[in-house]
Structures are given as structure tokens and as C-alpha cells.
Point group: C2
Chain length 486, copies 2
């Protein structure tokens, strides 16, 4: 019965503990690996069952979410892994955080779950207050409007649409809409469906629906056989590490890429004009490729100069794991980007923008659900915990330990590891080659640490915001064991 | 406290009542309209509050979902409307159905809500069983695989991708992938990103992300200023009513449209070959345009003959309101369609398909969440209630009353209404023109009945599955009052 376990949590006083105290009090002391391989036999059996109804080629193991706790994910074979990948960077407070149980111990909130509205037409009476108190509280400075969506791809798709509409409105000025525009868009051709583009970067990942996929360039298998818009793609800086020893080289990288952006805007102006640029603050799927604050400042300047929009895609970087709530806060930009998209750790998708990117006419950016109020309830509690438990400060402390440890391992194993990089706990390191990288990620798992690969040769670390110094030390210890055995 | 209201429901024995008994026992007897206009003053005030953070141009009123019950939606101004629009056709069991409360009165289910997995990588131990017992139980006959998604647009987008991949694999045969294919797709050009198309119909609606939007042709405002793929668009039959008096005309419509499909496939073969056809069983947003079973049978035959896929988009029609769980079950097709997409009443999105449309390589159809297990829990309970309470039978009974009533109103008001059509409670009627239609939809609301417009001149009825004969009679009574006053 529900009441029993709720009472039990209450009796133990767990609701009153801070996140970090809670984690230390209930988490296992260290990972436990019981099976010779992961997936273990029970996962393999479940995979077989699932395979008859759903593709299973990407499944690593079946988890036991009833038992998973804090930074530790349990699998069905009794393995307990320290999870520094967190469902592809989408878990902010670890597993089974007691404060999140609270959210649905509330009649009104359960009603929100079972009465899902078409938010754009019949929102509930709480919606304006929730948007103000929850989403507005994390709005990037200077962006006062929020369009809510459900996932990262549809956030980017709709943000692109907002950019195209904004761009065409600028061109149209006060000229009234023509019948030709109205009619041609209905059959997919200009001028109503104009030839316009979003410029993206090599190595970028912005989603997998057809518009978003035209700006995604991380792995061929994501794109093969799918028709695409012929939109311009610029190079993204490929830095050498350590940064402080490669200042001149990396600066040249910035300049080369920025100059490509400028050239492509010019080159496409006459055929498929660029209406906006989309960029990740750190290219995540593409290999945790960073660029300097100066790169982003110049990129913003180029956009402004050319009258095109700058969209910063914070789907993976947003939510605190870079040590600031939004990664682009590290860049000291000259005013906000035009649009910032989010999803993952924020539970629902969407984008922040200013009034210029809110179409005046209704139903231009719209869908049935326009987000999910049930996810906003979770986000509300998550944001409270982040603040009350100073989790951004925690990220910076734990991230420093993890990063310094990775740098030490690089020195110890220079033939295997290099190019440690990142901000907060949003960190990555490169391996000699893909084979070695995959070997290490697999071996780390068998040593009780769940990480993820990204790009061709990188390992990415994406712990939850409740990941602490001592967790970092466990990761580093296991990593050293793995590297020694290679 | 949660326990109090749960206990109260239990004390009243409401958990044990069937859906229909429950509805009649707790619903208001009839609609109540307290304000002179809807939105009323409190909705207008909330709209003002929301407007500072989010576009509000599409909002009809703010609802009170705590009070809404069964077929009745309460607004914040004390109006109680009989809801035959149900959040754009997305509410299967009405508001606050007691059986749905049960779903989250369960520790494991709450854990599912607060530990959202990346389903494609680390699914929970319950996932295979849930897919089998829940989604497999409603699979269209002959389609054994399910790809779960989150909304209608991303279901269609990913279904298109599955079709493109299937089509290219057929072409490729056993030829190994070339470097040119791998490299060209990364920069958005053929042969890796091939010129291929999905054929759609005039008046169709398949979503608003850029791929889906290229197949949507219901209203110009959905498409204006957004770049589009130049994909072929065939005419959709425009029937005359009543059907039995226009057999020859309508048959010619079928033939004309089918011949256009065939011509377009041929015409596009040399430039942007058609890999698949997407079609709604009833074009919903576009004006509730029906086509005959024979039309769909012939369409399927054309697809088979040309080696292209047939995707039936049941996002709005699926889930029971046509009197069968899937509308295409009415069509007596020669085998299943290749792909069937769903969302809305099913709580989560996705598509059913057979093994041919499941890419062999991992990560081709993929995203972080791949659906939402929390929504599957709701769907599980919804399906149980549909079966236990024989709601499809109920839909047929209530739909007959509503349809016959609309036909009577047509005869009474032939200068205003015509072309009553549809299946089950999924019904529509045409008005003289757009202005009259909008006037009627507005007046119906002030008479306590929430309907929706679709197409240029249609009113659509989308009641929940618990809508009964006496609800239909209330709708018809209020409709008559409105028509008399015009």
C-alpha cells in the first residue's frame, strides 16, 4: 500500500534530509558487480522477450528502478553501478529522490497527471502561475517568453519555425500577405514555403526529426537514407589540449570556423538564405567539443551583423551540470541569444525567446499538448532542491575533483588518455582510438561505473547534480584499475 | 492529504462502479453557463497573466481540472460545459476518472514517474511485459512491432524515416554501403541523404515539425514561412452527402484521386521517388473528410504495386471513437497497412509496423526517451476500462443517436447545416460558410456545449468514450436552440 512506504519514508525523516545527506545515508558505499558480463543473464532474457515487439539493438541492460537510489542504478541481475551517464544526461537528482515522491502525494498534482490538457487551448488555472514561478525562474537573462514542448527535437524544430517566421516577417515588413504566399505554402513551394536555411556545425547534434536532423552531423548512422534540407554546415573548432598550451592554435581554429560561417552565410544568401544559426555550447553527441567564450561572442556578433538569429541548443548542457544553470552563461555574451532550447534534465522540452520570436498570429507554433504540466510539477520540485541544497556549488566542487583526477590519469596513462575537458561535472576525455574507447567504457561498467561514449574517441561523464567528491574518487579509482589492466 | 480523498472515493465505492455508472452518478445533470461570454472575466485575467510569458492567442478559456468530471469540463468562471471536443480528441475516459487515480496509488508506478529512463538504452524491468500486455494488445492485426514515441508529430516523423530506410534497403539489396553514402549523408546530400518523398493528400494533417509539416495541407497559417520538402500532394475525395444519394459522384471522386496518386508516383519517380503514402482514415483538422473503404483498398493496392509503403495516421482517429479501436478496421483492407501511427487518446505516441520497418542497425530510429512509461501506465488502465465497460459498444450506440439527431437537424435547418458524416461518435457536420460555423461553435459554447471547428466550414464532435445517448440528446437539444436563434 502506498501509505505504508510513504509513512516509512516519513518515519525515517528522509523527507527532511537535504539531498546530499539523503544520498549519503541511503546509497550503497560503492558499486557492486555480480555478473561476468553486463547485460547479465536476466537482462539477456528480458531483451529476448522485448525483441519480439520492439527493436533492442541499443539496450545496454534492464534496470531495476525500484531499487536504484541516488547516484546508483541497479540492474535486474543485482549489479549496482555508479551512474555517471544518467539516462543520456537526463536525470538531475539521481534515482528515487525523496522530494520527488512528494510531488505526487498530492491530490491536485495527481489530477494534473490524469487530466492532460491541450495547453494551448484549455490550460488549467494553475498554468500561468506555474510558468511564472517555475520556468520563468530559470529563464536566461533577457528572454521573457517561453514556448513549452515535449522533447529536444520538437523544441528545436519549433524554434527553427519561430526563426523562419521572424525572418520572413522582417523581410515582409508592412506588406500584406499575398494570395500567392498563402496558396504556394499549401503545396510546399516558394514564396509561401520559402527557401531558407538554418546554419549548423559539423559534429552537431540537434535531434532526429527531419528538420532537426538536417542540422545534426554527429554520426552517419543517424542520417543515412533520410532526405535532408540542403542547409549550410560550418566547421566547429577542434581544439588541442591542454588549452593553456595551445592558445594560438585554438584561436586560429576559432577564426577559421567563424570565417567559414561568414562565408557560408554569404554563399547561401542567393540560393537558400540563412535565417538562423544553431549551436550547442558544448557539442555533446559529437564528442564533447568545446569552443571558447570568444568564439560564441564572435558568432553572436556575426549573427547580429547579418540580421540572422542565434539559437543556443542547451538540451544536453542545460540544467546545471556545467556549474551554471545554462552553459552559455559561461560565455559572457553581449545580450542574450535569440532563442535557447531545452529538454532532458528539465523533464519537458521548450524554448526561451523574446517577443520578436513569438508569432503574432495564433496557431503558427502549436500542437495538441504543447508540453506536459505533469513534467512541470517535477521540474518545480527539482529546481527547489537545486536551490535549497546548493547543487550548482556542489557540481563545481565535485567537477573540480573529477577533472583534476582525469588530468592526473592522463599523465599516468598518456598512451591511452588525452584532452580532458569540460565544465562542472560535464566532462570528457579522449582515448587513443574508438576500439580502446569502447573497451574502456565496457570495462568501466564491469568495474561498476556507467559512462557513455560520444564522438569517435571520447568518454563523457554526465553525473547527476547530487554527485559528490567521494563519488568522483570512486570513478577515478575504478578508472585507474581499468587503465592499468589495458 | 492524499489519503483523505482516496479514502473518500473508496468509502463512496466509486472505484467499484463501472465507468458509465460512475459518470451518471457524479456528473452534473446538464451544462451550466454563468458568464455572458466565454472566456469569462477570470479566464481573461489569467490570460493577461500568462500573456507576459507565453503566447495566448489560441486559448479559449482556463479550465478547472480539479472540478471537471466525466464528460463535463469546468472553467475558472464557474461555467460547466459538456465537452464534445475533449482536448482536441485526446481524452478517452473523460475527466477525473476514478480508475485513473488508482494508477498512481502505487509505489512502483510513482517510481516510474520520477525515474524516467532512456527507454532505448536502460529500460526498466517491467518494460517488455508492459509492451506485450498493453501496446501489443491493441496492435493492428498483422503488425507485430511497436516503436514508442512521445507525440503525433514525432511518431509520423520517425515512421517516415523507417519508410525511407526500408525503401533504400530494398534498392541497395545486398550491395554494401559505400563511403560516398556515408560521407554525403553527413553533409545533407545524395546519395546518402537521398531525394525521396512521402506522398500526402490535400487537406491532410500529419503534424507540424518540418518533415510532418511537408505532408500537412490543412490551413495555410500552419505552413506559411516554413521551408518545406517538395513532396507530391494528391487530391483527397470530396464527397457529396448523403452518401447513398451520391454514389456515382463519390465513386468518381475516388477514381479521380486514385488516378492522381498513380500519376504523381510516376511523375516523381525520376526526380523525388515516392517511398511511402501517408493518409488519415478520416482527414480531421482538414474538415473531417472521409473516404470509402474501396478508396483505401485501392490505395493500398497502388502502394503494393509500386513497392511503396502505406502509412495510416491514426493519431486522431485511433483509440475507439469511430466505434472500432482503429478506424482503418472499417476498411476491410487486404492485409495490414505497413505502418500505423498513434498518439492523443493513447497518451503516448508511436507506431506499429512489421519487421521490415525495423532497421537492422541500432541507433537509426532513436531518441533519449523513446516514449514515456508513465503514459503507458495510464494507457494500461484506460484499455482495461474500455474493455470492462464495453466502451466501443457504447460509442456505437451514442454515436448513432448523435448522428441521427444531426441528420434531423439538417432537415430542420437545411439553409444552415448539411453533410452530416462520420463513424461512431467521430462525427461532423458542415455549415453554410466559415462565418456561420464560427458563430455556431461560439453560440454552442454559450449554451454549454464545447465543440471544435475543422476545415473551412465544419463542426467536429469528439466526445470521450464515456459519452452516452443522454449526453447526445443534450448536445442535440442545445444545438437546436442555437440554430433556431440564428
Amino acid at each position: 500500500m502506498r501509505s505504508l512506504w510513504l509513512n516509512s519514508l516519513t518515519r525515517q525523516g528522509l523527507y527532511r534530509l537535504s539531498t546530499l545527506k539523503y544520498s549519503t545515508s541511503v546509497e550503497p558505499k560503492e558499486p557492486v558487480v555480480k555478473t561476468k558480463s553486463i547485460p547479465g543473464p536476466k537482462s539477456v532474457e528480458l531483451k529476448k522477450q522485448l525483441d519480439s515487439v520492439q527493436a533492442t539493438g541499443t539496450i545496454q541492460f534492464f534496470a531495476d528502478y525500484d531499487k536504484s537510489i541516488g547516484n546508483y542504478i541497479h540492474d535486474v541481475d543485482g549489479n549496482i553501478l555508479l551512474d555517471v551517464y544518467t539516462q543520456i544526461s537526463s536525470v538531475p537528482l539521481g534515482y528515487n529522490h525523496p522530494r520527488l515522491f512528494n510531488v505526487f502525494n498530492n491530490e491536485q498534482n495527481v489530477k494534473t497527471l490524469i487530466n492532460r490538457p491541450a495547453l494551448g487551448v484549455f490550460p488549467g488555472k494553475e498554468w500561468p502561475e506555474k510558468l511564472h514561478s517555475v520556468l520563468q525562474s530559470i529563464a536566461p537573462k533577457g528572454l521573457n517568453k517561453i514556448t513549452t514542448m515535449m522533447c529536444g527535437s520538437c523544441s528545436n524544430e519549433n524554434a527553427y519555425k519561430a526563426i523562419f517566421i521572424w525572418y520572413q516577417n522582417k523581410l515582409r515588413g508592412n506588406t500584406p500577405l499575398t494570395d500567392q504566399e498563402r496558396n504556394s505554402c499549401m503545396i510546399n513551394i516558394p514564396p509561401g514555403a520559402p527557401k531558407l536555411s538554418i546554419l549548423s556545425f559539423k559534429g552537431a547534434f540537434h535531434g532526429r526529426t527531419l528538420g532537426a536532423l538536417s542540422t545534426t552531423h554527429s554520426k552517419y548512422i543517424h542520417k543515412l537514407d533520410v532526405p535532408s534540407f540542403d542547409w549550410p554546415i560550418a566547421s566547429f573548432p577542434q581544439y588541442k589540449y591542454p588549452l593553456e598550451e595551445n592558445v594560438a592554435y585554438n584561436k586560429k581554429e576559432d577564426e577559421k570556423c567563424l570565417s567559414e560561417v561568414q562565408d557560408l552565410i554569404k554563399q547561401y544568401a542567393s540560393k537558400v538564405p540563412v535565417a538562423g544559426v544553431v549551436v550547442e555550447p558544448i557539442q555533446s553527441e559529437g564528442g564533447d567539443n568545446e569552443a571558447s567564450p570568444e568564439f560564441f561572442q564572435s558568432l553572436q556578433a556575426i549573427c547580429k551583423k547579418n540580421g540572422i538569429a542565434l539559437l543556443i541548443d542547451e538540451v544536453q548542457t542545460g540544467g546545471g551540470s556545467t556549474g551554471k544553470f545554462w552553459c552559455h552563461e559561461h560565455f559572457n555574451l553581449d545580450g542574450p541569444p535569440d532563442v535557447v532550447t531545452f529538454s532532458k534534465k528539465l523533464q519537458l522540452g521548450g524554448y526561451f525567446h523574446n517577443d520578436d520570436f513569438a508569432p503574432k498570429e495564433p496557431y503558427r507554433i502549436f500542437n495538441t499538448w504543447m508540453g506536459d504540466p505533469g513534467k512541470v510539477l517535477l521540474l518545480e520540485e527539482i529546481l527547489k532542491v537545486i536551490q535549497e541544497d546548493s547543487l550548482l556549488a556542489n557540481v563545481n566542487v565535485a567537477g573540480k575533483v573529477l577533472k583534476e583526477g582525469l588530468l592526473s590519469l592522463e599523465k599516468e596513462f598518456p598512451h591511452i588518455l588525452n584532452s580532458t575537458r569540460g565544465r562542472g561535472t560535464f566532462l570528457a576525455v579522449n582515448c587513443t582510438n574508438t576500439k580502446v574507447r569502447d573497451q574502456i567504457v565496457g570495462a568501466l561498467k564491469l568495474h561498476g561505473v556507467q559512462t557513455g561514449g560520444c564522438g569517435e574517441i571520447s568518454i563523457r561523464f554526465r553525473p547527476a547534480l547530487i554527485f559528490k567528491e567521494y563519488h568522483a574518487n570512486i570513478v577515478l579509482d575504478r578508472f585507474r584499475q581499468v587503465l592499468k589492466a589495458i
